[in-house]
C-alpha cells in the first residue's frame, strides 16, 4: 500500500509538470484555435536556460529563474508576432505546421547555444522533504505542486474575473466581432503566447532538479502535455490540469508495476482510451449556441 501511495505521489509531481505544459496548449488554443506543437520546447528552453544561467552566467537561483522565464516569454511572443501573425490568414493546419517547424528550429538552436550535454541543477531548497509514515514528498515536489496551484488560481482569475481575460476569450470566440468592439485580436494572441511561454519556462525550470536539462526533452514534455490537454478536453483549463495529473500518475504506475520501458507510451494509451469513451475529452462539453 505504501508503495502504491509513493508511486502515486511521485507520478503526481511529474503530472503537475505535464499539467502546466497542457495549460500552455490550452491558453494558446483558446486564444488562437491553433495547437502549438512548439509548446514543449518552451519547457525545454526553461530547463536549459536555468541550467545555463546558473552554471555559465553564475546567477543566483532566484534571478536565474526570473531571467529564464523572461527569455522564454520573449521567444513565445516572437514566435507569434514575427511568424504566426504574418500567416494569420492561412488555415489552421498550415499554422500547426508552422508551430512544428518552430519547435524543430528551437530544438536545434538550443543544441547550438547550450550544447548537447545533459545539465543538472540542484533542488530549489527552502521546503524540507516531507515524510508521512514511510511515504516521502521531495522538496522540489512541494515547489512544483504549489506552483501548479498558484498558476491555476491565477489563470482562473485572469479568464473568469478580469476584463482583459474576458476580452481574450471574446477574441477567440468571435475574432471579428471582438475587433468591432475595440479589442485587438492580435494583441490577445500575442498575450496568449506570452502566457504559455512564461508558464512553459517556469515548468521547465521547476522540473530541472528532478529530470536534468537536455535539448531533446521538449519532445516528450510537449507530446505528454498535448495528450493531457486533449484527454482533459482541449480548451478546458481544469481538464488540462486533471489530464496532466492522470497521465503523470498512470505513467508512474506503469513504470513501477509493469516496466519503465513502457512509461513514455502510456500517455497515449490513456489518451486513446479517453477519446474512445468520451470523444470530447474528460471535461469537454458540447458547446451551446442557439442561432
Amino acid at each position: 500500500m505504501s508503495d502504491f501511495l509513493q508511486i502515486l505521489i511521485s507520478g503526481g509531481i511529474v503530472g503537475c509538470i505535464y499539467a502546466m505544459a497542457a495549460l500552455g496548449f490550452t491558453i494558446v488554443f483558446n486564444a488562437t484555435r491553433v495547437v502549438n506543437f512548439a509548446n514543449g520546447e518552451f519547457l525545454m528552453l526553461g530547463s536549459l536556460g536555468l541550467a545555463g544561467a546558473i552554471a555559465t552566467a553564475g546567477l543566483p537561483l532566484w534571478l536565474a529563474v526570473i531571467v529564464t522565464i523572461l527569455c522564454t516569454t520573449l521567444v513565445g511572443v516572437a514566435m507569434q508576432v514575427v511568424l504566426l501573425d504574418h500567416a494569420r490568414s492561412a488555415d489552421e493546419l498550415t499554422l500547426v505546421m508552422l508551430t512544428i517547424g518552430t519547435g524543430l528550429a528551437l530544438r536545434g538552436a538550443a543544441a547550438l547555444v547550450f550544447g548537447r550535454e545533459v545539465a543538472f541543477v540542484q533542488d530549489f531548497g527552502l521546503f524540507p522533504m516531507i515524510l508521512i509514515g514511510d511515504i516521502y514528498v521531495i522538496s522540489q515536489g512541494v515547489w512544483i505542486a504549489l506552483t501548479l496551484v498558484c498558476v491555476s488560481i491565477g489563470l482562473w482569475f485572469l479568464f473568469a474575473r478580469t476584463t482583459f481575460g474576458k476580452a481574450m476569450r471574446a477574441a477567440s470566440q468571435e475574432p471579428r466581432a471582438a475587433a468591432l468592439c475595440g479589442i485587438e485580436p492580435r494583441r490577445a494572441a500575442a498575450t496568449a503566447f506570452a502566457l504559455a511561454a512564461a508558464l512553459g519556462g517556469l515548468a521547465g525550470a521547476l522540473v530541472t532538479p528532478i529530470s536534468a536539462a537536455f535539448y531533446e526533452n521538449g519532445i516528450f514534455l510537449g507530446l505528454k502535455g498535448f495528450a493531457a490537454a486533449v484527454a482533459g478536453g482541449l480548451g478546458n483549463p481544469l481538464g488540462a490540469v486533471v489530464g496532466g495529473l492522470v497521465i503523470g500518475m498512470v505513467e508512474a504506475m506503469t513504470a513501477g508495476y509493469v516496466s519503465s520501458g513502457y512509461k513514455d507510451g502510456v500517455a497515449f494509451i490513456v489518451l486513446l482510451f479517453v477519446l474512445l469513451l468520451r470523444p470530447t475529452g474528460l471535461f469537454g462539453g458540447t458547446s451551446v449556441n442557439r442561432v
Binding site: 476580452a167 466581432a177 468592439c181 442557439r290
Partner: protein, 242 residues
C-alpha cells in the same frame, strides 16, 4: 450637409476581386440611411470596408472629419463608429453582462458602470438574462444584445447588418421600433443594411439600392418605395398596368 460619415469613391474587395466599384455616400447625425439590394450586391462588404474589417483600395472614408482609411477595425470601433455584424456574433460562452461590458472595452470603468443601467433600461429583457451565457438566448434576444453591446460605447454612428434576419415578425417589428428610437431619441446616425427591403425603406430617411457594387438608385425611403423598378425587383409587387 457635411454629414457624420462621408464616403467618397470608395473601392474595396477581397483578394483580386473588386466588390465595391467606387461608392459615394453620406450619413448625417440623426439620419437613417438604408441600403437594400440582392444577395451579393456588396452591402455587407461596404459595411466591412467602413469598419476596417477589410482594407479599402482607394477613395476615402471620413468620419466626423477624420480619415478612417488604413485604420484597424478595433481603432475605428473605439472612435465611435460601431458595426453590428451579420448573424449577431455575440460572445456565446460569456454572460450577457460580460458581452455588454466588452462592448465598451477600452473605455473608463466608471463610464461602463453608468452606461450599463441605461442599456438595461433600453433592453429590459436582457436584465433577467444578465448572468446567462449569451449563446443560450433566442435569436431576437441575441440581436438585442448585439445592438446593446454596440451602444455601450456611446457610438455616434451605428451600422446594422441584417438586424431582422431569421427573426419572428413580432421581434422584427420591435427591432425596427428600436432603430427609429435610436435616431429620434438619441440622434444617432444609422446605416442600415436589410434584406427586408420594405421595412428598411419605411424606416429610412434616405436609401440606396445597390447592385453589383454600385448604387443603382438613390432617394428618400418614400420615393424608393413608390418606384416601380424597386417594387418589382425587391418587394415582389406586381406593377400596375399603365
Amino acid at each position: 450637409m457635411t454629414g457624420l460619415l462621408r464616403l467618397d469613391n470608395l473601392v474595396a474587395g477581397y483578394g483580386s476581386l473588386t466588390v465595391l466599384k467606387g461608392l459615394s455616400l453620406s450619413v448625417a447625425k440623426g439620419e437613417i440611411v438604408g441600403l437594400v439590394g440582392a444577395n451579393g450586391a456588396g452591402k455587407s462588404t461596404l459595411l466591412n470596408a467602413i469598419s476596417g474589417v477589410i482594407p479599402m483600395r482607394s477613395g476615402s472614408i471620413l468620419f466626423d472629419g477624420e480619415n478612417l482609411g488604413g485604420r484597424r477595425a478595433a481603432a475605428i470601433a473605439r472612435a465611435g463608429l460601431r458595426h453590428v455584424p451579420e448573424g449577431r456574433r455575440v460572445f456565446a460562452e460569456l454572460s450577457v453582462e460580460d458581452n455588454l461590458r466588452l462592448g465598451a472595452y477600452g473605455t473608463r470603468n466608471d463610464g461602463i458602470e453608468k452606461r450599463l443601467p441605461e442599456i438595461f433600461e433600453m433592453f429590459p429583457r436582457l436584465v433577467e438574462r444578465r448572468h446567462q451565457a449569451a449563446g443560450t438566448m433566442s435569436g431576437g434576444e441575441q440581436q438585442m444584445l448585439a445592438i446593446g453591446r454596440a451602444l455601450m460605447a456611446k457610438p455616434r454612428l451605428l451600422m446594422l447588418d441584417e438586424p431582422s434576419m431569421g427573426l419572428a415578425p413580432l421581434v422584427v417589428a420591435e427591432i425596427f421600433r428600436l432603430i427609429r428610437s435610436l435616431r429620434d431619441d438619441f440622434g444617432l446616425g444609422i446605416l442600415l443594411v436589410e434584406q427586408n427591403a420594405r421595412a428598411a425603406l419605411r424606416v429610412s430617411d434616405r436609401a440606396c439600392v445597390m447592385a453589383l457594387g454600385r448604387f443603382e438608385l438613390e432617394g428618400t425611403g418614400r420615393e424608393l418605395l413608390r418606384n416601380p423598378a424597386v417594387t418589382q425587383a425587391f418587394l415582389g409587387a406586381v406593377p400596375r398596368p399603365v
